[in-house]
Symmetry: C2
Subunit: 81 residues, 2 copies
């Protein structure tokens, strides 16, 4: 079994209205130190071992299911459970 962590972030060129909203809220709450906020997804997966290469499975799943390749980048970390 693998424990996989997937980090999905918006591409640098893509505006992040949610991040802007959180930054503005933080400033209005007095956290003036906050200069930028970018919000993405963090996924924790349990993936059983199989005859398929784990990187192949993860890259395919990220491209087809877990991310929007036009607007998002991803990276992942694999750990043996």
């Amino acid at each position: 079994m693998y424990n996989v962590k997937v980090y999905v972030t918006l591409k640098k060129s893509v505006l992040d209205p949610q991040g802007v909203a959180v930054k503005d809220a933080a400033k209005s709450m007095g956290y003036v130190e906050v200069e930028d906020v970018r919000i993405g997804k963090f996924m924790e997966l349990k993936v059983a071992k199989s005859d398929r290469d784990i990187h192949e499975v993860l890259n395919e799943m990220c491209d087809k299911l877990l991310t929007n390749p036009v607007m998002e980048d991803y990276r992942y970390e694999i750990e043996e459970a």
Copy 2:
């Protein structure tokens, strides 16, 4: 300036319908190896140095703004920019 990464995850006891939906979709697409999916938030913040302790600022912000303390846990990593 600090580069901060915040990881927000649902508490173990909280059901994750979004994660269940993604897991079922993955299986229906043929990724039968996927046994569990938990989905959270991943935030990247730029925080300027100030006279306030960075941990104090981050813990307060996480509790009051970035997370729902009833249902979510968080951890963060700080890097000097």
